[in-house]
Subunit: 234 residues, 2 copies
C-alpha cells in the first residue's frame, strides 16, 4: 500500500497571514501525522494561537504521545495561557504504522469525510474546540488501513464560502461528486474543493481556508518517499 | 515569487528504517525551513538519533530561534545525551521572509549546491557533524531571495552510490547536467538524482539516501500554498 496526502491553503482576502496552521510530520514509530489548527479570528493573533497548538501537538507526537493525549494537552495549554478566552480548532489525521490504523482526532465543528468500501461517512458529531474549558476531549475515530480509504478534512473557511452571496458551499455534495469520478488523487480533490470555494467567494475568500485530502491505495509505484511544497511569496 | 521544495528519500537496501530524517516546517515569522539529518550508522539507532536532532531543531525554529543557534543547540544536546560517541549530520535550508533571504546551515561533509545567475557554487568547505565535541558550529550561507535561485542538498548516501562497483556517483556533474536542461522543477531534480544513485547500486542502495531540491522562481501560478506527501507502506 501507499499513502498520499495533499493540502491546499489560502488566506482570507486582503489578509497577509492565515490563521490556519498545517504541518505534516513523521511519527516516531512509523507513519505520519497531519496536524491542522485554526485559531480564533484571523490575522496575526490567530496565527500565533494555531502555531502554538500545532507546535505543542507535533512536539508531543514526536515523543510518542498518542494523538488524543496530545490534543488534550494542547487544549489545556491553550486554556491556561489564554485564560479560556481564545479557542482553536484542531484536526489530527495519523497513519499509525504501529497499530496499522488511520487515527482521526477532531476538535472542530467542521466535519471530516471518510470514504471506504464505496461508502461515504461524515463525522459530524458535536465536537468542542480547544481552549474553552479544562479537560476538553477530541472525538477519536480509528479505522484499519486498507486500500481505498479516502479522508477529507478542512477548516471552517470552506463551509463559509459563498455565504456572503447567500450560496453557501455544500461541501458534502461536492466531495461526493468528486469521489464518484474515476479514482481522483488527493491533490485533485484538495485543489478542486478550494477552487470551488474561491469561485463562490469571487476569488476573495471571507476566511482562511485549508483543505487536506488523504488516500490509502495499492502501491503501484516505487518505494521512494516524496514530499513537495509550494509556497507563494508576497 | 514562489518557492518550490521537493524531497525524495529511500532506505538502505533490506533495511526497514531509514537513518535519515527530513521535515519541512513553517517558520513563525514567515517562510519555511527544510531540516535534514542523517544519524550515524543505519537502522533503528540511527533513526532515533536523527529524529532527536530534527525534533530539537524544529522545536527551536518554531520559537523563533535562528537556524545557526538551533544547530548548535542540537549538537550540544546530542553530545550531552550520547557522551560525544554518536554523530549526526544536519542541513537546514530556510526561506526566511523576515530577512528576505535563503539561509543554509551545514554540518555535513556532503556539499550543498547553489545555482544562481547561471553560476553553480558548491559549498564544500570542511564542515563538522553534530555531537562529536562541545561548541560545534554550522557553516552558514545567506543569499538574497531572487527568482532563479536553485539549491540541492543531500545525505552522504548519494555520494556513496556506485562505490561498491567502483563507479562512485559524480554528484556535481549530475546536478550541473540537469540544471543545464530547460528549467527543471525541483521534483524532477530530486527524483532524477535518486534514480541515478539507485541505478548505480542496482536498485539496492548501500546507504539511506535523501535528496532535497529547492527553487525560487517567478510566481506564474495562484496564491495557494500546497503540500503533497507520498509514503509507501511496507
Amino acid at each position: 500500500m501507499e499513502v498520499q496526502v495533499a493540502a491546499a491553503k489560502t488566506n482570507k482576502y486582503a489578509s497577509s497571514q492565515s490563521g490556519d496552521t498545517l504541518e505534516i510530520v513523521e511519527r516516531p514509530n512509523g507513519g505520519l501525522s497531519v496536524v491542522l489548527a485554526d485559531g480564533q479570528t484571523s490575522g496575526h493573533g490567530a496565527k500565533a494561537v494555531s502555531m502554538m497548538v500545532v507546535r505543542k501537538v507535533i512536539g508531543l507526537l514526536a515523543e510518542g504521545v498518542r494523538d488524543g493525549a496530545a490534543a488534550r494537552a494542547a487544549s489545556d495549554a491553550l486554556y491556561t495561557e489564554k485564560n479560556g478566552k481564545v479557542t482553536c480548532t484542531l484536526n489530527i489525521a495519523s497513519i499509525d504504522l504501529e497499530t496499522g490504523t488511520l487515527v482521526l482526532s477532531r476538535n472542530n465543528p467542521a466535519p471530516i469525510f471518510i470514504c471506504h468500501s464505496d461508502q461515504v461517512d461524515c463525522l459530524d458529531r458535536e465536537s468542542e474546540t480547544l481552549g474553552t474549558r479544562r479537560a476538553i476531549r477530541p472525538l477519536i475515530t480509528e479505522i484499519e488501513l486498507e486500500a481505498g480509504l479516502f479522508v477529507v478534512m478542512y477548516t471552517d473557511g470552506l463551509m463559509h464560502a459563498g455565504k456572503r452571496r447567500g450560496q453557501p458551499m455544500d461541501v458534502c455534495n461536492a466531495i461526493q461528486a468528486m469521489l464518484d469520478e474515476q479514482d481522483p488523487s488527493p491533490d485533485q480533490i484538495a485543489d478542486a474543493l478550494l477552487a470551488h470555494a474561491l469561485n463562490l467567494d469571487d476569488q476573495r475568500p471571507a476566511d482562511d481556508i485549508s483543505v487536506v485530502a488523504l488516500k490509502v491505495s495499492v502501491n503501484n509505484g516505487d518505494n521512494i518517499r516524496r514530499m513537495n511544497v509550494r509556497l507563494p511569496l508576497e
